[in-house]
Each structure stands twice: as structure tokens, then as C-alpha cells.
Amino acid sequence: MNKLTGSFVWVSCSLILFLTACNSFEYSPNQVFDRNSPQYLNRKSLQRLAESVKDDTIRFVLTGDSQREYTHSEELVRTVNNIPGVDFVLLAGDISDFGLLQEMEWVNEIFSKLKMPYIGVIGNHDLVANGEKVFKRMFGELNFSFVYGGVKFVCHNTNSREAAFDGSVPDLPWLREQFKAEDGVTAYIGVAHVPPNNGDFDTSLSEQYVNVINNSPNTLAALFAHTHSKNLFYPGRGNIPYVVTNAIENREFVLIEIINGKFSFKNISY
């Protein structure tokens, strides 16, 4: 063995060792987890949120569609970190583009740099391939809710097309339960990916859906992403705002405040 090949063998062996240490062994792009995959991210975030010091202002960010937008996601994290008093961030679906583990890990690495907890909600792209299993293991349930400062946030799956419009998505019986009067809850906010006026939402359910959302004792708003453009509409009875955030690729998100039970928001470009 001459010097050149000897050093080549040495270099390639050490490269393999190095990459092994970096978890470079991949069994499949569709694997549900690897050695370093985080778990229960939403549960951990909500725990952090519950332990945080509360004031009389609830201030949070609505964003979505981080799919394949790592550079712009970094910019979003920097921008949000510079806004004072943000309690948490809602990442309302399409965390990944192809439903792959690697994508959700990359996005989580970036969003972990937020000073405040972030909560992931399921989007249609997150349900592609093995995405549902990856999301459930890494983030948690597709339908879940939490109460913060007396406001109940009902996060849910509205990606009807991925269920082939079989009537199961959104889960109306579950939503009805969630939007019922409850001790310790003074207001309600829905959070989902596909808004009910979109073609990917099951049109046969949209009217009932809006009724369930609007007919709680006190719904403040319903929040969405998916369309990659900002939007605001008031469906059904009452004057309840349905707010759709722009996508991360368009470098705009929604900053929301609830002060003394009053809901307000503004779109922020960065």
C-alpha cells in the first residue's frame, strides 16, 4: 500500500466514523424516527407554557407552511425573538413538504431556537407518506387543546382531502365537545391548517364546522394557514374573524394579542 492510498483509506475510515457519530446512517427517508428524533414536542411546549409567568396580555404568533423553507424559517425565528412579550408560536401546518422525518427534524432544529415554546398543528403535507406517524411521534395528537390565560386553543385537523373527503375530517363530534362551556375557560380560539372556505376542506362539512366554531360561549377567532396568502373573513353568524396567515416563504406572519378578552391582530412582514 503506498502513501496515497494509505492516507485515502485513513481519511475514508475516519469520515465514516465521523458521519456515523453524526447519525448519518439512514434506514429509509420514510422511517418514522431515528436515534435522535425528538418526541412529545407539543406536550413539552405546553408544559413550558403552563410554567411560564403570565401577565394580563396574551401575545402569540400565528405562522404556517414552513415546508422546505429553512432559510426563511430562520429569519422568522430571529424576527419573532425580537418582539417583546410573545408567549408562544403556533405553527399551523405544513411543517414538512413531503411528510418526511428529516424535514420535521430540520424545522424543529430551527424553531427550537425560539425563546418561547412553539406548538405544531397538522397540515396536509405532513400527512403524506409516513408523515402522520412521524408527526404523531414527534409532535403529538392531530386534535388537541390547551388553555392559556383562560383562553382555550382548540388545535385540530382540517385536511379533509387527505382523508379523501370521507366525512371524518374535521372531527365534528370532537370539536363540539371542545367548544362547550367549561370551567376556567372564558374564550375559545380554533387553530387548524386548511380554512373552511378552501377547496381542500370538505365542503359538505364546512357549514356545520363554522357553526360549531362560532357557537361556543365566546369564540374570539379561528386561525388558519395553507393558502400562502393572508386573508380575513367572517363566515356564518356573528362577527367572528377567521384569520389566515401568509406562508413562511412569503415572509409574513400574524401577531395576535388578547387584552382583557379583546382580540386584535396585525400582519408582520420581515
Binding site: S24, E26, Y27, S28, Q31, Y70
Partner: protein
Amino acid sequence: MITIIFFLQSGKVFSQFPEILIPKDVIVQHAGSIGYFSVGAGYRLFKNKRGNLDFNYGFVPENKGGTLHIISAKFVYRPFEIKLKDWAKLYPLNPGAFVSYHYGKEFDFYWDKSQYDEGYYWWSSAIRPHISFSNEIKLDSKKLFGSGKIKSLSIYSEFNTNDLYMVSYVLNTKDLSLTDIFKLGIGIRLGF
């Protein structure tokens, strides 16, 4: 292992097939995006036998992130050959390409036309094209161990990436590096 024994014992059966259809290699691979473990049969291509076409079946068990069943067809070419010893050769950089197919209802070959408009998702979740770079050390087992059915024994490592990782990379070169998108596998190739 089972495949290897099968090949050793069934030499007579195979000899009835046309020579060209008989695989010359048996491959066992760990990781490399086509299974926690995969086994395969390989054919040698070109006059100089520097090319290979391998067909692998791979499996990812549930406790390793599965359950997944993956079939792959792999091509590799070895442009450089370095003689290390009388009985050892090094192929330092071998470009290759392969296609993997994930079996299962979660993985779509075609997107259902009644469910999705044309082009709603532009990729197939079942079929994944990959490019690869590998290196290989090939030992002449006849010269090393004397006679035997196994003529050569190779160990290789292979880095691969796929279309979806590449698309993610090209739009985010500031935040993703090549080591983020290239994944590793290692394997053994037995030549008969």
C-alpha cells in the same frame, strides 16, 4: 445469511438458466436508505466488470422506525481501481444511482385522481430516485483463503441522497449542508 446459503446450495439449479441471468454477487447492506438491512443479488456490467446492477430487498423493523418494506434497483460504476496488494483492490470513488420503491398503502405510486387534481403533489411518495457515491475494498478470497465457492469479498460504504433532499438543499444552501442530505450505508458484497 439465508440468501447466501441458498445461493451456495442451489448452484446446480441455477446452472440450468441462461448464464447471463445468474447473479454473480450476493449483497448484504446495512442502512443506506434502502432498509435497516437489505439483501440482494448483483449482476456485473460491461466488459471490464466495473459496473454493477443490484436488486435488493430491504426491511426496517418497527423498533428502528418501520415497519417498511423496500425494493431497490441499484447501479454503480467503478472508474478508478487502485491495487493495494496482490489480493486487495481499492475502488475509491464510485458514482451510482438507484431507485427505491416503498411498499404499502401509505406510499403512492400514482396519486389518486379522484382525490387530487393533476399535479397537486408533484412527486411520488413510493418511488424515490437516489444518487450515490461509494468506495469499496475488494479482496480476492481465492488468493487469500485458497479454493472455495466465494471468489471475492468486498466491503463498501455508500453515501446517497434522493430527489426530495436535493430539492430541499438547493433552495436552502445557507442552512443545509451536503452532510445534512447525504446518508450513509455500509455493505458486504460476495462474488461467486
